[in-house]
Symmetry: C2
Subunit: 322 residues, 2 copies
């Protein structure tokens, strides 16, 4: 068994940009692309995105899968190798580190973790179908909110925390009205966010639907409404809307790593140096949404993937590992 210089776990924008940079630095990175752990597939969250309009360089936009194929081809061109397998176990307590899948055991001097995060969904069948087909269901207002289909329409946001108000207020720039569906009768959001919320309600741009959950998503080619259930009275009703945005949080894909390096209270990997990609274990770097609960964009993930590869390259050079 030969020892790898860089193993990258994950194949979204962060992992594949890390691969492009590591490959160009002649480190011959090995990428565990994933197979379907946690419902994720090679290419990451963008594989479920029909149209990417905000990744810079593509004025006409392009589909998520097409974009990820371009990233993958580019990394491959410079010598990246791929394993279409899920990592099942890591050992960062010994050096070289050990990375295992069902089929392979690999030793490596450095690791870039780029396993991303997954949006939390209701996991209703029609919600999932419409989210994947671009039918008006999304877990990212910043990604999708500017699309013409939402202009001046009634939109529903599910959630009651800061991100629900943040995503909702972003949508008020475009929507007719944004309806916040929350299972309690008050927000969990911070004071500043609450103020923002009540101001938008005063202006007629936002409206709460308290004590309520969504029990079904309606619509065939695209969403036509949601079925609501009042959790106090049990009463159900259908509510017409042209867009549904989930804002009930994200879960970072860090189950594999939790016992091996520092994570925060939400499970995100903690970075050890400001503005860098070092983790609490020397030689292990993190990039993309797995360490970012703020921005979560393809281009920010790609940026940190590049940083992780350069950090790994410099770390290897410092240690004299050729």
């Amino acid at each position: 068994m030969s020892t790898e210089k860089v193993v990258i776990i994950g194949s979204g924008p962060a992992g594949l940009t890390g691969a492009i940079y590591a490959a160009r630095a002649a480190l011959k990175p090995l990428v565990f692309e994933g197979f379907n752990a946690g419902g994720l597939i090679p290419g990451g969250q963008l594989m479920f995105t029909t149209e990417v309009e905000n990744y810079p360089g593509f004025p006409e936009g392009l589909s998520g899968p097409k974009m990820m194929k371009a990233f993958r081809d580019q990394a491959e061109r410079f010598g990246t190798r791929y394993l279409r397998e899920d990592v099942t176990e890591v050992d960062f307590s010994r050096r070289p580190f050990v990375i295992k899948s069902d089929e392979h055991t690999v030793e490596t001097h450095t690791v870039i973790i780029a396993t991303g995060a997954r949006a939390n969904w209701l996991n209703l069948e029609n919600e999932q179908r419409l989210a994947k087909s671009g039918g008006g269901v999304s877990a990212c207002a910043v990604c999708d909110g500017a699309m013409p289909v939402y202009r001046n329409q009634e939109l529903v946001v599910i959630g009651g925390g800061d991100s629900a108000i943040e995503e909702g207020s972003y949508l008020t720039k475009f929507a007719g009205k944004v309806h916040i569906v929350h299972r309690r009768d008050q927000l969990r959001a911070s004071k500043a966010m609450q103020e923002r919320f009540f101001k938008l309600v005063d202006e007629g741009k936002m409206e709460p639907i308290w004590n309520t959950v969504v029990t079904d998503v309606l619509g065939d080619a695209s969403i036509t409404g949601v079925r609501l259930k009042n959790v106090k009275t049990g009463e159900q009703r259908d509510f017409a809307c042209k867009g549904l945005f989930l804002a009930i949080g994200h879960t970072p894909n860090t189950e594999l790593f939790k016992d091996h390096l520092d994570t925060d209270e939400k499970g995100y990997i903690k970075l050890a140096r400001p503005g860098r990609t070092y983790t609490s274990v020397e030689g292990v770097f993190a990039a993309g949404d797995v360490a970012d609960h703020t921005y979560r964009q393809a281009v920010t993930a790609a940026g940190t993937g590049c940083m992780a590869a350069l950090d790994a390259e410099r770390w290897l050079a410092e240690k004299g590992i050729e």
Copy 2:
């Protein structure tokens, strides 16, 4: 005079990605693209780059100018407005802020500074000509070092600090030998870098040329060598090489802002919160090389441009500025 929500100063990958995101958030950003202050032109440093192979999404590579045109078109598509003018003065002491060019005076609630940094050059005529034509002269080993033209060739790096050794050792992956030309008889680099240097010298991959400066760059279509002058003896000689890499530092384009916000000892803008783009002045954000002396890549600049736009958008929303 109406007050802008977001003014962006600079039009490289950071500024234009900020514009894409701000425009999609319906903030109608106004971009001062620059004209030629400090030798920079609209589009930034990439306008001098013949071939970009490491910006993710373009497996076959593309030219710097073509890439920046795509960024610009994309931002324009969503409502960005451009002024092809240099900013001559800013006032961050009053709100709204004031931004002036020779032709315009603009008030704005937020500013994104994305004026970049410029590599330091020798400013020899043939050096500049070959750098712009892709003739084997570069100020970025990570960007250009992997090109086939440098494989197994004699390369020259000018400089004696950490970055000279870092760039040089990156090049040893590809080069026949890397010659470090330094005007003194010892490195200014850190202890770790010195060790790396002497190890590479021992291995025959690197070689110092002490007490020496480059007085001319030779070659027509591409570089064939450099003229060296020993600063102690005054003796001149020609030295054959296939690539010349400048590693004598960068200068951030912060002359305009120095008296208005915190910068570090090298003039880079200091960021006020780890992992965010806030500066020491609330409502002023910084993105790209102007606040980055570590990575300096197109994709990292683009990533922070996106972050700055999202930070500005959230800041405006928090302040209730619609």
